[in-house]
Subunit: 154 residues, 2 copies
Amino acid sequence: MKALDIAEVARRSGLPASTLRYYEEKGLIASVGRHGLRRLFDSGVLERLSLIALGRTAGFTLEEIAGVFAPDGRPRIDRQQLAARADALEHTIRRLAALRDGLRHAAACPAPDHLACPRFRRLLRLAAATQRRARPASPAAPRPDRSRPGRGAR
Amino acid sequence: MKALDIAEVARRSGLPASTLRYYEEKGLIASVGRHGLRRLFDSGVLERLSLIALGRTAGFTLEEIAGVFAPDGRPRIDRQQLAARADALEHTIRRLAALRDGLRHAAACPAPDHLACPRFRRLLRLAAATQRRARPASPAAPRPDRSRPGRGAR
DNA sequence: CTACGAATTCAAGTCGACTTGAGGTCAAGC
DNA sequence: GCTTGACCTCAAGTCGACTTGAATTCGTAG
C-alpha cells in the first residue's frame, strides 16, 4: 500500500480534489498523514470512495453513509440496520423498475397520449402504490456531460 | 372530473400546499382556474403528481421532468430520449441491486470486517465498475420519519 | 354584515453537497 | 537558493428543491 497524493486519488476516483477534502472534513475518508502540507492517502481510500459513491447512488446522505462506518473506519455491522436499508432499497428498485418499464413502453407505444394507454396507466398506478414517502433518488438522465475528472460531476 | 382545491390535492397526494404552488410555478402542474384567489385543480393532477414523484425517485431533476411533458401538458413522446432515459435507469437499477445484495450480505456475513470478505469485495468491484458518473439517487434509509403531509418529506 | 380562517403572493431562509476564490505554504527542479 | 506549481485553509458562493413568514384577500358561517 503506497501512499497516494490527492491528485492521484482524484485521478483514480474521478472525484475532484475539493470533494475529497470535503469528504475528509466530513469524516468519510481519512488521510494517513502528510508530506509537508499535502495529504497522503492509503490506496484503500479508493475502495472506500466506491462504497461512498454507491451509497450516494442509493440516495443515502453523506451523514448516513458516514454512520455505516464505525469510528475506527471500517464498515460497522449493525445487521439489523443494514437489513432494513437493504429492504428499503429493494423497494426503491421496484419503483425504478416500474418507471423503466413505463419509459420503455412509452418509447414504443403507438398511442398518442400515454395517459390514455392502459398499460401505461397500470404502470403508473403500480408505481404510485409502491410509493411510500421516498426521498428523491437519482442518476438517470443523459446530462450535459461534464464527465472527466476535472470538474466534479455530481 | 370535479375541481379540487389545493387542500384536497395536498391531502390526496401527501404533498404540502407550498410544494404544489412551487410545482405550478415551475410549470410541472397547472391549475384549471380559480375560485376567487383560490386555485382549482382538475383531479388529473393527481396522476401527474404520481408521475412527478416517480421521476424524482429515479433522480430526475424537476426541470428534466418538466421536459418530458410537452407544452400542452401531456407527456411528450421523444421516443429516442425516453429510451435513453430508460437505459440510464436500467444502469442505476443494476448498481442499486448490487448495493442491496452487498447490504444483505453484510447483514448476514460472519466476517468481522466486510472489506476482508471476498464476496463483499466482489460486489464492491462490480458496483465500482458499473459506475459511470451517476448523480445521487435516493430513498433508502429508514429516517426519523416526519411522514405526514405537514412537513414535506426529503 | 362582520368575523374567521383558509388561500394567496412575494421575499427570504434552509439544507445538503459541493465549488470557487483569495491568499498562503512548501518540496522539487533548475 | 530561488522559482514554480501543486496543495493548503477558510470563508463565501451556488444550485436544486422546497419551506417559512409577513402582509393581504376572500368565501362562508353566523
